[in-house]
């Protein structure tokens, strides 16, 4: 009861006593809005707007002290509350702009990265092509050292002299021929090709049938040896040509020697 009475007295005193009127709703709201803004990112991101809000609130507080809760205090307090919200909004805008700038930066970097990686991919492919070409040229050069190599429309033709490969009238490879063919097989395996054709050729001495049979056996024995050296058997064929395709004059000893030969035709990959 006593406490209740005191409460009323205080309330009446507050209303009547001109010393301390209650702050209007607008001022209370402005205070809390500024309080929130002053603890927000606006301190860093919108200091000017926050200062405007502060001055605005001080004006409202001064008006409240001077004139109490009349309309001008309420208006000033309303404005102060809005100014505090402006500071918060400007801080949000600044933060978004900074975020965007960072994302833009990342975007450009990602674009550059993508460009770099496609560039380096291109360079890698280029380097791979270059080294493949180099290997091919080296293989070709080593073939040229081993045998006579020429390019014809049917492919690269490697010509091995018959006297190096075989004894007269025989189709068994000489030991020195095996070494040579092993190197040919190695050089061939470094080169891309579709298939290989081994052709046996003879000079025109002796019967056609005999020459045909001999050339076939010789081609077969070269083929077998190359397969034993790792050339895939489904990629290599052997054929006897006999004496029907001489490359030199059969009337001289030198010409006949040149006609006794084995040709390996490297049939290229068609693209």
């Amino acid at each position: 009861m006593n406490r209740f009475k005191i409460g009323w007295l205080l309330a009446i005193q507050a209303l009547v006593g001109c010393s301390t009127p209650l702050p209007p709703q607008e001022l209370l709201q402005a205070r809390s809005a500024y309080n929130a803004a002053s603890k927000s990112a606006a301190v860093q991101l919108a200091p000017a707007q926050l200062d405007t809000a502060k001055q605005s609130l001080e004006k409202a507080e001064a008006s409240f002290k001077e004139d109490g809760d009349d309309q001008s205090t309420k208006d000033l307090a309303y404005i102060a509350g809005v100014r505090a919200q402006v500071a918060v909004a400007e801080a949000g805008r600044e933060q978004a702009a900074r975020n965007k700038a960072k994302i833009d930066h990342d975007f450009r970097n990602s674009q550059l990265d993508a460009l770099d990686s496609s560039k380096s991919q291109l360079e890698q492919e280029k380097a791979a092509r270059a080294s493949a070409e180099k290997a091919r040229l080296a293989a070709e050069a080593s073939l040229k050292e081993l045998a006579n190599v020429k390019e014809e429309s049917r492919g690269v033709v490697i010509t091995l002299s018959g006297s190096v490969l075989f004894a007269t009238g025989k189709s068994m490879l000489l030991p020195i021929a095996q070494n040579k063919l092993a190197e040919v097989a190695k050089a061939l395996s470094d080169q891309g090709y579709k298939s290989l054709l081994v052709e046996g050729h003879t000079d025109s001495q002796g019967s056609v049938d005999k020459n045909m049979a001999l050339s076939q056996e010789r081609a077969q024995s070269v083929r077998s040896y190359l397969v034993s050296q790792g050339i895939p058997s489904d990629k290599i064929r052997a054929e006897g040509i006999g004496s029907s395709r001489p490359v030199a004059d059969n009337s001289t000893a030198e010409g006949r020697a040149n006609n006794r030969r084995v040709e390996i035709v490297v049939e290229p990959n068609r693209k």
Partner: protein
């Protein structure tokens, strides 16, 4: 002409009130226009403050017509604050949208280059 000006001033002061808050009224109207251009009408919170600013401006003009310039000046000040807030909110929303759009582009780019 000068006489007329004098007469107006005398009349205005004679009413016992303050002068017409012409300068701040013009500024507040410009602020409202600026907020509209910034897209305040399409962002709900900004639209609310844009509406308040316009209402306060209308009220201020009515008060001026009634000769109550002092109260009109305070309405104009409120309108200015609300127009400023509408502008800031619209710009904030626009900036956030731009950032989100850019982020989306970045995500797409990163996704594609994976």
């Amino acid at each position: 002409m000068r006489k007329l000006c004098l007469a107006t001033i005398v009349l205005a002061t004679a009413c016992g009130g303050a002068a017409v808050p012409q300068e701040t009224l013009t500024a507040a109207k410009a602020a409202v226009a600026g907020a509209e251009v910034a897209g305040a009408a399409s962002e709900p919170k900004a639209a609310l403050h844009l509406k308040l600013a316009k209402e306060q401006l209308a009220k201020a003009e009515k008060l001026i017509a009634d000769g109550d310039n002092e109260e009109a000046a305070r309405e104009v000040d409120r309108a200015q604050a609300d127009a400023d807030l509408a502008f800031s909110l619209a710009k904030e929303s626009g900036a956030k949208k731009e950032a989100a759009d850019t982020q989306e582009q970045l995500d797409r780019l990163r996704h594609r280059s994976k």
